[in-house]
Protein backbone atom coordinates (compact mmCIF):
# COMPACT_ATOMS: atom_id res chain seq x y z
CA UNK A 1 0.00 0.00 0.00
CA UNK A 2 2.75 2.36 1.07
CA UNK A 3 4.90 1.45 -1.91
CA UNK A 4 2.03 2.05 -4.29
CA UNK A 5 1.35 5.54 -2.94
CA UNK A 6 5.04 6.41 -3.30
CA UNK A 7 4.87 5.15 -6.90
CA UNK A 8 1.87 7.32 -7.55
CA UNK A 9 3.63 10.37 -6.11
CA UNK A 10 6.65 9.73 -8.31
CA UNK A 11 4.38 9.24 -11.32
CA UNK A 12 2.56 12.55 -10.74
CA UNK A 13 5.90 14.28 -10.30
CA UNK A 14 7.30 12.93 -13.56
CA UNK A 15 4.06 13.68 -15.41
CA UNK A 16 4.31 17.29 -14.21
CA UNK A 17 7.94 17.48 -15.28
CA UNK A 18 7.14 16.05 -18.72
CA UNK A 19 4.27 18.52 -19.20
CA UNK A 20 6.44 21.50 -18.19
CA UNK A 21 9.32 20.34 -20.38
CA UNK A 22 6.98 19.90 -23.33
CA UNK A 23 5.43 23.35 -22.79
CA UNK A 24 8.85 25.01 -22.51
CA UNK A 25 10.16 23.28 -25.63
CA UNK A 26 7.00 24.06 -27.61
CA UNK A 27 7.08 27.77 -26.79
CA UNK A 28 10.79 27.95 -27.55
CA UNK A 29 10.94 26.07 -30.82
CA UNK A 30 7.48 26.41 -32.40
CA UNK A 31 7.52 30.18 -32.94
CA UNK A 32 4.46 30.13 -35.21
CA UNK A 33 2.37 28.01 -32.89
CA UNK A 34 3.30 30.19 -29.91
CA UNK A 35 2.48 33.31 -31.94
CA UNK A 36 -1.01 31.89 -32.63
CA UNK A 37 -1.51 31.49 -28.86
CA UNK A 38 -0.29 35.05 -28.22
CA UNK A 39 -2.72 36.37 -30.88
CA UNK A 40 -5.55 34.75 -28.95
CA UNK A 41 -4.35 36.03 -25.57
CA UNK A 42 -3.61 39.58 -26.78
CA UNK A 43 -6.00 40.20 -29.68
CA UNK A 44 -5.61 43.99 -29.53
CA UNK A 45 -1.96 44.08 -30.58
CA UNK A 46 -0.52 44.45 -34.05
CA UNK A 47 2.78 42.72 -33.35
CA UNK A 48 3.04 39.55 -31.27
CA UNK A 49 6.66 38.46 -31.31
CA UNK A 50 9.52 40.47 -29.79
CA UNK A 51 11.36 41.55 -32.92
CA UNK A 52 14.93 41.93 -31.65
CA UNK A 53 15.76 38.29 -30.96
CA UNK A 54 14.02 34.94 -31.48
CA UNK A 55 12.87 33.02 -28.41
CA UNK A 56 15.46 30.29 -29.00
CA UNK A 57 18.24 32.85 -28.45
CA UNK A 58 16.53 34.40 -25.43
CA UNK A 59 16.02 30.97 -23.87
CA UNK A 60 19.65 30.02 -24.51
CA UNK A 61 20.79 33.29 -22.90
CA UNK A 62 18.56 32.70 -19.88
CA UNK A 63 19.94 29.18 -19.37
CA UNK A 64 23.53 30.34 -19.96
CA UNK A 65 23.24 33.12 -17.34
CA UNK A 66 21.83 30.72 -14.76
CA UNK A 67 24.27 27.91 -15.58
CA UNK A 68 27.38 30.07 -15.54
CA UNK A 69 26.44 31.70 -12.23
CA UNK A 70 25.51 28.35 -10.67
CA UNK A 71 28.76 26.71 -11.74
CA UNK A 72 30.88 29.59 -10.43
CA UNK A 73 28.91 29.76 -7.17
CA UNK A 74 29.31 26.00 -6.69
CA UNK A 75 33.07 26.14 -7.16
CA UNK A 76 33.52 29.18 -4.92
CA UNK A 77 30.98 27.96 -2.34
CA UNK A 78 32.76 24.63 -2.10
CA UNK A 79 36.09 26.35 -1.61
CA UNK A 80 34.70 28.71 1.04
CA UNK A 81 32.89 25.88 2.86
CA UNK A 82 36.01 23.70 2.81
CA UNK A 83 38.08 26.64 4.07
CA UNK A 84 35.63 27.25 6.91
CA UNK A 85 36.02 23.63 8.00
CA UNK A 86 39.81 23.65 8.26
CA UNK A 87 41.42 24.01 11.65
CA UNK A 88 42.21 27.64 10.87
CA UNK A 89 38.95 28.45 9.13
CA UNK A 90 36.57 27.05 11.74
CA UNK A 91 36.79 30.41 13.52
CA UNK A 92 35.07 32.02 10.53
CA UNK A 93 32.10 29.65 10.52
CA UNK A 94 29.76 31.95 12.48
CA UNK A 95 30.89 34.93 10.44
CA UNK A 96 29.90 33.12 7.21
CA UNK A 97 26.50 32.33 8.74
CA UNK A 98 25.93 35.93 9.79
CA UNK A 99 27.12 37.40 6.48
CA UNK A 100 24.72 35.06 4.69
CA UNK A 101 21.70 36.59 6.40
CA UNK A 102 23.10 40.10 5.90
CA UNK A 103 23.38 39.53 2.13
CA UNK A 104 19.61 38.89 2.00
CA UNK A 105 18.99 42.58 2.57
CA UNK A 106 20.58 43.69 -0.73
CA UNK A 107 18.16 43.25 -3.66
CA UNK A 108 19.67 41.05 -6.42
CA UNK A 109 18.78 43.51 -9.14
CA UNK A 110 20.38 46.36 -7.17
CA UNK A 111 23.69 44.50 -7.07
CA UNK A 112 23.45 43.90 -10.84
CA UNK A 113 22.85 47.62 -11.40
CA UNK A 114 25.65 48.68 -9.06
CA UNK A 115 28.10 46.47 -10.95
CA UNK A 116 27.34 48.19 -14.27
CA UNK A 117 29.78 51.10 -13.78
CA UNK A 118 32.53 48.51 -13.19
CA UNK A 119 31.66 45.92 -15.84
CA UNK A 120 29.49 47.72 -18.38
CA UNK A 121 26.09 46.45 -19.58
CA UNK A 122 25.75 42.83 -20.63
CA UNK A 123 25.86 39.37 -19.05
CA UNK A 124 28.85 40.09 -16.76
CA UNK A 125 27.06 42.02 -13.98
CA UNK A 126 24.30 39.37 -13.89
CA UNK A 127 26.69 36.44 -13.68
CA UNK A 128 28.79 38.15 -11.01
CA UNK A 129 25.75 39.17 -8.93
CA UNK A 130 24.09 35.75 -9.08
CA UNK A 131 27.41 34.07 -8.28
CA UNK A 132 27.89 36.26 -5.21
CA UNK A 133 24.36 35.45 -4.02
CA UNK A 134 24.90 31.71 -4.54
CA UNK A 135 28.25 31.32 -2.77
CA UNK A 136 27.06 31.64 0.83
CA UNK A 137 24.08 29.22 0.65
CA UNK A 138 26.31 26.57 -0.96
CA UNK A 139 29.12 27.15 1.56
CA UNK A 140 26.58 26.88 4.41
CA UNK A 141 25.33 23.55 3.09
CA UNK A 142 28.88 22.23 2.74
CA UNK A 143 29.51 23.23 6.37
CA UNK A 144 26.28 21.81 7.78
CA UNK A 145 26.59 18.66 5.64
CA UNK A 146 30.08 17.84 6.89
CA UNK A 147 29.17 18.80 10.45
CA UNK A 148 26.20 16.42 10.38
CA UNK A 149 28.49 13.40 9.96
CA UNK A 150 28.25 11.55 13.30
CA UNK A 151 31.45 11.74 15.39
CA UNK A 152 31.41 7.92 15.78
CA UNK A 153 31.74 7.49 12.02
CA UNK A 154 34.61 9.94 11.96
CA UNK A 155 36.34 8.15 14.85
CA UNK A 156 35.87 4.79 13.15
CA UNK A 157 37.45 6.11 9.94
CA UNK A 158 40.42 7.39 11.91
CA UNK A 159 40.48 4.11 13.83
CA UNK A 160 40.96 2.00 10.71
CA UNK A 161 43.97 4.13 9.87
CA UNK A 162 42.61 6.65 7.35
CA UNK A 163 44.48 9.88 6.96
CA UNK A 164 42.63 13.15 7.36
CA UNK A 165 42.15 13.80 3.63
CA UNK A 166 41.21 10.16 3.01
CA UNK A 167 38.57 10.44 5.71
CA UNK A 168 37.19 13.62 4.12
CA UNK A 169 37.05 12.19 0.59
CA UNK A 170 35.95 8.63 1.30
CA UNK A 171 33.73 9.05 4.37
CA UNK A 172 32.65 12.59 5.15
CA UNK A 173 31.93 13.89 1.63
CA UNK A 174 29.81 10.88 0.57
CA UNK A 175 27.75 11.15 3.76
CA UNK A 176 27.35 14.92 3.44
CA UNK A 177 26.63 14.72 -0.29
CA UNK A 178 22.80 14.86 -0.19
CA UNK A 179 22.87 18.06 1.92
CA UNK A 180 25.48 19.68 -0.34
CA UNK A 181 23.63 18.75 -3.54
CA UNK A 182 20.40 20.05 -2.00
CA UNK A 183 22.08 23.43 -1.51
CA UNK A 184 23.37 23.51 -5.10
CA UNK A 185 19.94 22.60 -6.49
CA UNK A 186 18.31 25.42 -4.52
CA UNK A 187 20.79 27.91 -5.95
CA UNK A 188 20.17 26.65 -9.50
CA UNK A 189 16.38 27.04 -9.07
CA UNK A 190 16.83 30.59 -7.75
CA UNK A 191 19.22 31.51 -10.58
CA UNK A 192 16.97 30.18 -13.35
CA UNK A 193 14.26 32.45 -12.00
CA UNK A 194 16.45 35.47 -11.18
CA UNK A 195 18.15 35.49 -14.59
CA UNK A 196 14.93 37.10 -15.87
CA UNK A 197 16.05 40.28 -14.08
CA UNK A 198 19.20 40.36 -16.19
CA UNK A 199 17.19 42.24 -18.81
CA UNK A 200 17.46 45.32 -16.58
CA UNK A 201 21.19 45.52 -17.36
CA UNK A 202 20.74 44.42 -20.99
CA UNK A 203 22.13 40.93 -20.35
CA UNK A 204 19.58 39.24 -22.62
CA UNK A 205 17.36 36.41 -21.44
CA UNK A 206 13.60 36.06 -21.18
CA UNK A 207 13.20 39.33 -19.29
CA UNK A 208 13.98 41.28 -22.49
CA UNK A 209 10.56 40.88 -24.16
CA UNK A 210 8.84 41.51 -20.78
CA UNK A 211 10.61 44.86 -20.36
CA UNK A 212 10.02 45.73 -24.03
CA UNK A 213 6.33 44.93 -23.50
CA UNK A 214 6.08 47.21 -20.45
CA UNK A 215 7.81 49.91 -22.45
CA UNK A 216 5.54 49.63 -25.53
CA UNK A 217 2.37 48.60 -23.62
CA UNK A 218 2.38 45.38 -25.65
CA UNK A 219 0.67 42.48 -23.84
CA UNK A 220 1.96 39.95 -26.34
CA UNK A 221 5.65 40.77 -25.78
CA UNK A 222 5.13 40.58 -22.03
CA UNK A 223 3.49 37.16 -22.27
CA UNK A 224 6.07 35.96 -24.77
CA UNK A 225 8.73 36.45 -22.09
CA UNK A 226 6.64 35.66 -19.01
CA UNK A 227 5.14 32.31 -20.06
CA UNK A 228 8.39 30.56 -21.07
CA UNK A 229 10.31 31.95 -18.08
CA UNK A 230 7.60 30.69 -15.72
CA UNK A 231 7.56 27.28 -17.40
CA UNK A 232 11.35 27.08 -17.22
CA UNK A 233 11.47 28.15 -13.55
CA UNK A 234 8.78 25.62 -12.57
CA UNK A 235 10.54 22.92 -14.60
CA UNK A 236 13.83 23.59 -12.80
CA UNK A 237 12.02 23.57 -9.45
CA UNK A 238 10.18 20.29 -10.11
CA UNK A 239 13.22 18.62 -11.60
CA UNK A 240 15.62 19.56 -8.82
CA UNK A 241 13.32 19.55 -5.79
CA UNK A 242 12.93 15.95 -4.78
CA UNK A 243 11.30 16.52 -1.44
CA UNK A 244 8.64 19.19 -1.25
CA UNK A 245 10.05 22.45 -0.01
CA UNK A 246 8.00 22.67 3.16
CA UNK A 247 9.52 19.44 4.47
CA UNK A 248 13.05 20.67 4.12
CA UNK A 249 12.95 22.78 7.26
Amino acid sequence: MRARSVDRQALTRWLGIAALAAATAWMTFDARGFERLLRVLAPGETSWLYPTKPLTTLMAEQIWLAAAASALATAAGFALGALALTRFGIAFRDLVLSAGSLAQTVPTVALMALLVPLTGYGPEPVIIALTLYGILPIALNVISGIESVPPDVRDAATGIGMRRWQRVIRVELPLAWPVIVGGIKNVVVINVSAATLGAVVAAGGLGMPILAGFHDYNDAYILQGALPSIALALLADRLLTVRPRWERG
Binding site: S98, V109, T196, L197, W246
Partner: protein, 394 residues
Protein backbone atom coordinates in the same frame (compact mmCIF):
# COMPACT_ATOMS: atom_id res chain seq x y z
CA UNK B 1 33.35 29.24 31.57
CA UNK B 2 32.83 26.11 29.52
CA UNK B 3 35.51 24.66 27.29
CA UNK B 4 33.60 25.38 24.08
CA UNK B 5 33.10 29.00 25.12
CA UNK B 6 36.81 29.35 25.81
CA UNK B 7 37.67 27.94 22.39
CA UNK B 8 35.10 30.27 20.77
CA UNK B 9 36.86 33.21 22.42
CA UNK B 10 40.23 31.95 21.18
CA UNK B 11 38.90 31.53 17.64
CA UNK B 12 37.55 35.08 17.57
CA UNK B 13 41.16 36.31 17.80
CA UNK B 14 41.92 35.05 14.28
CA UNK B 15 38.71 36.60 12.92
CA UNK B 16 39.49 39.99 14.48
CA UNK B 17 43.04 39.93 13.10
CA UNK B 18 41.81 39.10 9.61
CA UNK B 19 39.31 41.95 9.88
CA UNK B 20 42.17 44.31 10.76
CA UNK B 21 44.31 43.04 7.88
CA UNK B 22 41.37 43.48 5.50
CA UNK B 23 40.96 47.03 6.84
CA UNK B 24 44.57 47.93 6.07
CA UNK B 25 44.33 46.37 2.59
CA UNK B 26 41.14 48.39 2.00
CA UNK B 27 42.84 51.62 3.04
CA UNK B 28 45.65 51.00 0.54
CA UNK B 29 43.40 49.72 -2.28
CA UNK B 30 43.40 51.97 -5.37
CA UNK B 31 39.65 52.63 -5.43
CA UNK B 32 38.96 54.07 -1.98
CA UNK B 33 37.09 57.05 -3.34
CA UNK B 34 36.03 57.65 -6.94
CA UNK B 35 36.49 61.15 -8.37
CA UNK B 36 34.34 62.25 -11.31
CA UNK B 37 34.30 65.44 -13.35
CA UNK B 38 30.54 64.99 -13.87
CA UNK B 39 28.01 62.76 -12.12
CA UNK B 40 27.93 60.17 -14.91
CA UNK B 41 31.64 60.22 -15.67
CA UNK B 42 33.44 56.88 -15.35
CA UNK B 43 35.79 58.46 -12.84
CA UNK B 44 39.26 57.87 -11.47
CA UNK B 45 40.08 56.05 -8.26
CA UNK B 46 42.13 57.30 -5.35
CA UNK B 47 43.05 55.20 -2.32
CA UNK B 48 41.83 56.21 1.13
CA UNK B 49 45.45 56.64 2.23
CA UNK B 50 46.07 59.16 -0.58
CA UNK B 51 42.75 60.94 -0.16
CA UNK B 52 42.61 61.41 3.58
CA UNK B 53 45.77 63.46 4.11
CA UNK B 54 47.30 63.09 7.55
CA UNK B 55 44.28 61.18 8.78
CA UNK B 56 45.25 58.00 6.98
CA UNK B 57 47.54 57.03 9.82
CA UNK B 58 44.69 57.30 12.33
CA UNK B 59 42.72 54.71 10.36
CA UNK B 60 45.70 52.40 9.93
CA UNK B 61 46.50 52.88 13.65
CA UNK B 62 42.95 51.77 14.53
CA UNK B 63 43.44 48.54 12.59
CA UNK B 64 46.93 47.92 13.99
CA UNK B 65 45.61 48.38 17.54
CA UNK B 66 42.72 46.00 16.81
CA UNK B 67 45.20 43.38 15.62
CA UNK B 68 47.39 43.93 18.71
CA UNK B 69 44.39 43.74 21.05
CA UNK B 70 43.26 40.55 19.36
CA UNK B 71 46.61 38.92 20.07
CA UNK B 72 46.83 40.37 23.62
CA UNK B 73 46.27 38.71 26.99
CA UNK B 74 43.93 41.47 28.20
CA UNK B 75 40.82 40.19 29.99
CA UNK B 76 37.83 39.55 27.71
CA UNK B 77 35.75 42.56 28.65
CA UNK B 78 38.27 45.40 28.17
CA UNK B 79 39.68 43.62 25.11
CA UNK B 80 36.22 43.30 23.58
CA UNK B 81 35.19 46.88 24.35
CA UNK B 82 38.44 48.42 23.06
CA UNK B 83 38.63 46.28 19.92
CA UNK B 84 35.00 46.85 18.93
CA UNK B 85 35.27 50.59 19.60
CA UNK B 86 38.39 50.89 17.44
CA UNK B 87 37.02 48.67 14.64
CA UNK B 88 33.82 50.68 14.58
CA UNK B 89 35.74 53.95 14.68
CA UNK B 90 37.82 53.21 11.54
CA UNK B 91 35.01 53.35 8.93
CA UNK B 92 33.33 56.31 10.68
CA UNK B 93 36.63 58.22 10.60
CA UNK B 94 37.11 57.28 6.95
CA UNK B 95 33.58 58.45 6.15
CA UNK B 96 34.02 61.75 7.99
CA UNK B 97 37.34 62.47 6.28
CA UNK B 98 35.90 61.44 2.91
CA UNK B 99 33.31 64.18 3.49
CA UNK B 100 36.07 66.71 4.26
CA UNK B 101 37.98 65.61 1.15
CA UNK B 102 34.82 65.91 -0.97
CA UNK B 103 34.23 69.49 0.22
CA UNK B 104 37.79 70.46 -0.72
CA UNK B 105 37.54 68.71 -4.08
CA UNK B 106 34.25 70.46 -4.88
CA UNK B 107 35.73 73.93 -4.40
CA UNK B 108 38.70 72.92 -6.59
CA UNK B 109 36.96 71.00 -9.40
CA UNK B 110 33.62 72.79 -9.54
CA UNK B 111 29.99 72.09 -8.76
CA UNK B 112 29.53 69.40 -11.40
CA UNK B 113 32.30 67.21 -9.95
CA UNK B 114 31.47 64.28 -7.73
CA UNK B 115 33.32 62.35 -5.02
CA UNK B 116 31.80 58.90 -4.46
CA UNK B 117 32.52 56.20 -1.93
CA UNK B 118 34.39 53.50 -3.84
CA UNK B 119 35.04 49.77 -3.35
CA UNK B 120 37.91 50.57 -0.95
CA UNK B 121 35.52 52.35 1.38
CA UNK B 122 32.93 49.57 1.23
CA UNK B 123 35.71 47.07 1.93
CA UNK B 124 36.63 49.15 5.01
CA UNK B 125 33.02 48.84 6.14
CA UNK B 126 33.17 45.07 5.54
CA UNK B 127 36.43 44.86 7.52
CA UNK B 128 34.74 46.69 10.39
CA UNK B 129 31.81 44.25 10.22
CA UNK B 130 34.22 41.31 10.49
CA UNK B 131 36.26 42.83 13.32
CA UNK B 132 33.24 44.05 15.33
CA UNK B 133 31.58 40.65 14.84
CA UNK B 134 34.68 38.99 16.35
CA UNK B 135 35.33 41.53 19.10
CA UNK B 136 31.74 41.56 20.40
CA UNK B 137 32.01 37.77 20.80
CA UNK B 138 34.27 38.54 23.80
CA UNK B 139 31.39 40.36 25.53
CA UNK B 140 28.29 39.08 27.29
CA UNK B 141 25.06 39.73 25.38
CA UNK B 142 23.45 42.89 26.68
CA UNK B 143 23.15 46.62 26.29
CA UNK B 144 26.90 47.28 26.04
CA UNK B 145 27.37 44.71 23.29
CA UNK B 146 24.39 46.05 21.35
CA UNK B 147 25.66 49.62 21.71
CA UNK B 148 29.11 48.64 20.41
CA UNK B 149 27.62 46.65 17.50
CA UNK B 150 25.30 49.42 16.32
CA UNK B 151 27.48 52.37 17.35
CA UNK B 152 29.12 52.70 13.90
CA UNK B 153 25.67 52.99 12.27
CA UNK B 154 24.77 55.74 14.73
CA UNK B 155 28.08 57.43 13.94
CA UNK B 156 27.40 57.35 10.20
CA UNK B 157 23.87 58.62 10.82
CA UNK B 158 25.20 61.49 12.94
CA UNK B 159 27.67 62.48 10.20
CA UNK B 160 24.86 62.55 7.63
CA UNK B 161 22.52 64.47 9.92
CA UNK B 162 25.25 66.93 10.92
CA UNK B 163 25.95 67.82 7.30
CA UNK B 164 29.58 66.65 7.40
CA UNK B 165 29.03 64.53 4.29
CA UNK B 166 26.93 66.92 2.24
CA UNK B 167 29.59 67.16 -0.48
CA UNK B 168 29.73 63.39 -1.07
CA UNK B 169 28.09 62.27 -4.32
CA UNK B 170 25.26 60.30 -2.74
CA UNK B 171 24.18 63.28 -0.61
CA UNK B 172 24.45 65.65 -3.58
CA UNK B 173 22.03 63.32 -5.37
CA UNK B 174 19.85 63.49 -2.28
CA UNK B 175 19.95 67.29 -2.29
CA UNK B 176 18.91 67.31 -5.97
CA UNK B 177 16.06 64.86 -5.30
CA UNK B 178 15.07 65.74 -1.73
CA UNK B 179 11.32 66.07 -2.39
CA UNK B 180 11.15 62.96 -4.56
CA UNK B 181 13.19 61.03 -2.01
CA UNK B 182 10.75 61.66 0.82
CA UNK B 183 7.82 60.67 -1.37
CA UNK B 184 9.45 57.50 -2.76
CA UNK B 185 10.69 56.46 0.67
CA UNK B 186 7.16 56.72 2.06
CA UNK B 187 5.79 54.87 -0.97
CA UNK B 188 8.36 52.09 -0.52
CA UNK B 189 7.36 51.71 3.12
CA UNK B 190 3.72 51.72 2.05
CA UNK B 191 4.32 48.83 -0.38
CA UNK B 192 6.14 46.87 2.31
CA UNK B 193 3.44 47.55 4.92
CA UNK B 194 0.52 46.70 2.65
CA UNK B 195 2.11 43.56 1.18
CA UNK B 196 3.27 42.17 4.50
CA UNK B 197 -0.12 42.92 6.10
CA UNK B 198 -1.90 40.96 3.37
CA UNK B 199 0.78 38.25 3.53
CA UNK B 200 0.40 38.02 7.32
CA UNK B 201 -3.39 37.67 7.20
CA UNK B 202 -3.29 35.03 4.44
CA UNK B 203 -0.26 33.29 5.93
CA UNK B 204 -1.87 32.93 9.36
CA UNK B 205 -5.10 31.68 7.80
CA UNK B 206 -3.40 29.17 5.49
CA UNK B 207 -0.96 28.01 8.17
CA UNK B 208 -3.87 27.43 10.54
CA UNK B 209 -5.82 25.62 7.82
CA UNK B 210 -2.89 23.31 7.04
CA UNK B 211 -2.33 22.61 10.75
CA UNK B 212 -6.01 21.86 11.45
CA UNK B 213 -6.73 19.88 8.26
CA UNK B 214 -3.57 17.91 7.44
CA UNK B 215 -5.25 16.73 4.21
CA UNK B 216 -5.07 20.29 2.88
CA UNK B 217 -1.35 20.65 3.61
CA UNK B 218 0.08 19.45 0.26
CA UNK B 219 -2.39 21.61 -1.70
CA UNK B 220 -1.75 24.74 0.39
CA UNK B 221 2.04 24.50 0.40
CA UNK B 222 2.20 23.18 -3.15
CA UNK B 223 0.37 26.27 -4.41
CA UNK B 224 2.46 28.64 -2.27
CA UNK B 225 5.60 26.92 -3.53
CA UNK B 226 4.60 27.54 -7.14
CA UNK B 227 4.06 31.24 -6.37
CA UNK B 228 7.46 31.35 -4.67
CA UNK B 229 9.25 30.05 -7.76
CA UNK B 230 7.69 32.51 -10.25
CA UNK B 231 10.23 35.06 -11.52
CA UNK B 232 9.20 38.51 -10.22
CA UNK B 233 9.16 40.18 -13.64
CA UNK B 234 7.23 37.32 -15.22
CA UNK B 235 4.69 37.33 -12.37
CA UNK B 236 4.08 41.06 -12.80
CA UNK B 237 3.96 40.49 -16.55
CA UNK B 238 1.33 37.79 -16.16
CA UNK B 239 -0.82 40.16 -14.09
CA UNK B 240 -0.46 42.98 -16.61
CA UNK B 241 -3.14 41.94 -19.14
CA UNK B 242 -5.43 40.70 -16.36
CA UNK B 243 -5.30 43.95 -14.38
CA UNK B 244 -5.51 46.09 -17.50
CA UNK B 245 -8.74 44.39 -18.50
CA UNK B 246 -10.11 44.47 -14.95
CA UNK B 247 -9.60 48.22 -14.72
CA UNK B 248 -11.28 48.70 -18.13
CA UNK B 249 -14.33 46.71 -17.05
CA UNK B 250 -14.62 48.06 -13.49
CA UNK B 251 -14.39 51.86 -13.22
CA UNK B 252 -14.29 51.55 -9.41
CA UNK B 253 -10.96 49.75 -9.63
CA UNK B 254 -9.67 52.16 -12.24
CA UNK B 255 -10.47 55.11 -9.98
CA UNK B 256 -8.38 53.43 -7.26
CA UNK B 257 -5.43 53.39 -9.62
CA UNK B 258 -5.56 49.67 -10.41
CA UNK B 259 -3.77 49.27 -13.74
CA UNK B 260 -1.48 46.80 -15.43
CA UNK B 261 1.44 48.73 -14.00
CA UNK B 262 1.66 50.80 -10.81
CA UNK B 263 0.86 49.82 -7.24
CA UNK B 264 -1.61 46.99 -7.85
CA UNK B 265 0.66 44.34 -9.46
CA UNK B 266 3.48 45.25 -7.06
CA UNK B 267 1.40 44.68 -3.93
CA UNK B 268 -0.15 41.48 -5.30
CA UNK B 269 3.24 39.99 -6.20
CA UNK B 270 5.00 41.02 -2.98
CA UNK B 271 2.08 39.77 -0.86
CA UNK B 272 2.11 36.44 -2.72
CA UNK B 273 5.80 36.01 -1.93
CA UNK B 274 5.30 37.06 1.71
CA UNK B 275 2.61 34.44 2.45
CA UNK B 276 4.95 31.46 2.23
CA UNK B 277 7.39 32.10 5.12
CA UNK B 278 4.54 33.16 7.41
CA UNK B 279 2.29 30.19 6.52
CA UNK B 280 5.20 27.75 6.86
CA UNK B 281 6.20 29.03 10.30
CA UNK B 282 2.60 29.24 11.53
CA UNK B 283 2.05 25.63 10.45
CA UNK B 284 5.34 24.47 11.98
CA UNK B 285 4.66 26.29 15.26
CA UNK B 286 1.10 25.03 15.66
CA UNK B 287 1.93 21.41 14.83
CA UNK B 288 4.89 21.26 17.21
CA UNK B 289 3.07 22.42 20.36
CA UNK B 290 3.01 20.04 23.30
CA UNK B 291 -0.37 18.20 23.10
CA UNK B 292 -0.45 18.01 26.91
CA UNK B 293 -0.73 21.82 27.10
CA UNK B 294 -3.68 21.85 24.72
CA UNK B 295 -5.35 18.98 26.59
CA UNK B 296 -4.91 20.91 29.83
CA UNK B 297 -6.48 24.01 28.28
CA UNK B 298 -9.44 21.96 27.07
CA UNK B 299 -9.59 20.26 30.45
CA UNK B 300 -10.18 23.51 32.29
CA UNK B 301 -13.14 24.11 30.00
CA UNK B 302 -11.78 26.41 27.29
CA UNK B 303 -13.66 26.55 24.00
CA UNK B 304 -11.64 25.74 20.85
CA UNK B 305 -11.48 29.44 19.90
CA UNK B 306 -10.20 30.30 23.37
CA UNK B 307 -7.58 27.54 23.17
CA UNK B 308 -6.37 29.00 19.90
CA UNK B 309 -6.39 32.65 20.97
CA UNK B 310 -5.16 32.26 24.53
CA UNK B 311 -2.91 29.21 24.45
CA UNK B 312 -1.80 28.15 20.99
CA UNK B 313 -1.17 31.50 19.30
CA UNK B 314 0.73 33.02 22.24
CA UNK B 315 2.97 29.93 22.39
CA UNK B 316 3.49 30.00 18.62
CA UNK B 317 4.21 33.73 18.47
CA UNK B 318 8.06 33.64 18.48
CA UNK B 319 8.15 31.17 15.58
CA UNK B 320 5.49 33.11 13.63
CA UNK B 321 7.48 36.30 14.23
CA UNK B 322 10.55 34.63 12.73
CA UNK B 323 8.51 33.97 9.59
CA UNK B 324 7.25 37.55 9.62
CA UNK B 325 10.85 38.74 9.85
CA UNK B 326 11.87 36.74 6.77
CA UNK B 327 8.84 38.11 4.91
CA UNK B 328 9.62 41.70 5.92
CA UNK B 329 13.28 41.55 4.86
CA UNK B 330 12.37 39.82 1.60
CA UNK B 331 9.60 42.34 0.83
CA UNK B 332 11.73 45.38 1.67
CA UNK B 333 14.35 44.20 -0.82
CA UNK B 334 11.74 42.98 -3.31
CA UNK B 335 9.81 46.27 -3.43
CA UNK B 336 12.67 47.67 -5.51
CA UNK B 337 10.86 46.13 -8.52
CA UNK B 338 8.12 48.78 -8.24
CA UNK B 339 10.60 51.28 -9.67
CA UNK B 340 10.77 49.23 -12.85
CA UNK B 341 7.03 48.98 -13.51
CA UNK B 342 5.87 52.50 -12.83
CA UNK B 343 5.12 51.94 -9.15
CA UNK B 344 7.71 54.32 -7.73
CA UNK B 345 9.44 53.59 -4.42
CA UNK B 346 13.16 53.62 -3.76
CA UNK B 347 13.76 51.44 -6.82
CA UNK B 348 13.03 54.52 -8.94
CA UNK B 349 16.46 55.92 -8.06
CA UNK B 350 18.18 52.59 -8.66
CA UNK B 351 16.77 52.11 -12.16
CA UNK B 352 17.13 55.75 -13.11
CA UNK B 353 20.74 55.59 -11.91
CA UNK B 354 21.31 52.34 -13.82
CA UNK B 355 20.09 53.89 -17.06
CA UNK B 356 22.51 56.82 -16.59
CA UNK B 357 25.28 54.70 -15.00
CA UNK B 358 25.17 57.19 -12.11
CA UNK B 359 26.34 55.10 -9.13
CA UNK B 360 25.51 57.72 -6.55
CA UNK B 361 21.89 57.88 -7.66
CA UNK B 362 21.67 54.07 -7.49
CA UNK B 363 23.11 54.16 -3.97
CA UNK B 364 20.53 56.77 -2.98
CA UNK B 365 17.98 53.97 -3.57
CA UNK B 366 19.98 50.97 -2.36
CA UNK B 367 21.42 52.31 0.92
CA UNK B 368 18.00 53.17 2.46
CA UNK B 369 16.61 49.78 1.32
CA UNK B 370 19.43 47.92 3.06
CA UNK B 371 19.13 50.16 6.14
CA UNK B 372 15.37 49.49 6.33
CA UNK B 373 15.80 45.75 5.87
CA UNK B 374 18.49 45.60 8.55
CA UNK B 375 16.33 47.62 10.94
CA UNK B 376 13.38 45.26 10.44
CA UNK B 377 15.61 42.21 10.79
CA UNK B 378 17.35 43.34 13.97
CA UNK B 379 14.19 44.83 15.49
CA UNK B 380 12.07 41.74 15.05
CA UNK B 381 14.80 39.34 16.14
CA UNK B 382 15.18 41.46 19.26
CA UNK B 383 11.46 41.04 19.95
CA UNK B 384 11.73 37.28 19.27
CA UNK B 385 14.56 36.93 21.79
CA UNK B 386 12.68 38.98 24.38
CA UNK B 387 9.54 36.86 23.95
CA UNK B 388 11.44 33.58 24.15
CA UNK B 389 13.20 34.70 27.33
CA UNK B 390 9.98 35.90 28.85
CA UNK B 391 8.33 32.54 28.14
CA UNK B 392 11.18 30.41 29.41
CA UNK B 393 12.83 32.19 32.33
CA UNK B 394 16.35 30.83 32.70
Amino acid sequence: MSRTEASLHERARAVAVSGAVLGIVAALAPFGLVLRQTRIDRGAGVSLVDALGAWWWAIVACWLLVALLARSRLPLRPRGVAASLLSGLAPVLALWQAGVFAAAYATKAGDLSRVSLGPGFWLTAAAAYVAVFAATAWLEPGLLRAALSYGPFAGAGALVAGGALSDLGILKEYANNADAFGKQFALHLGYVGASVAVGLALGLALGLLAARRPASEPAVFGALNVLQVLPTLAFIGLLYPVLTRLSERAPVLASLGVRGVGWAPVVIVLAAYAVYPIARNTHAALTSLDPAVIDAARGIGMAPVQVLARVELPLATPVILAGLRVALVQTTAGAIIAGLVGGGGLGTFVFLGASETASDLMLLGVVPIVALALTFDRGLSGIETALTRWKEPA
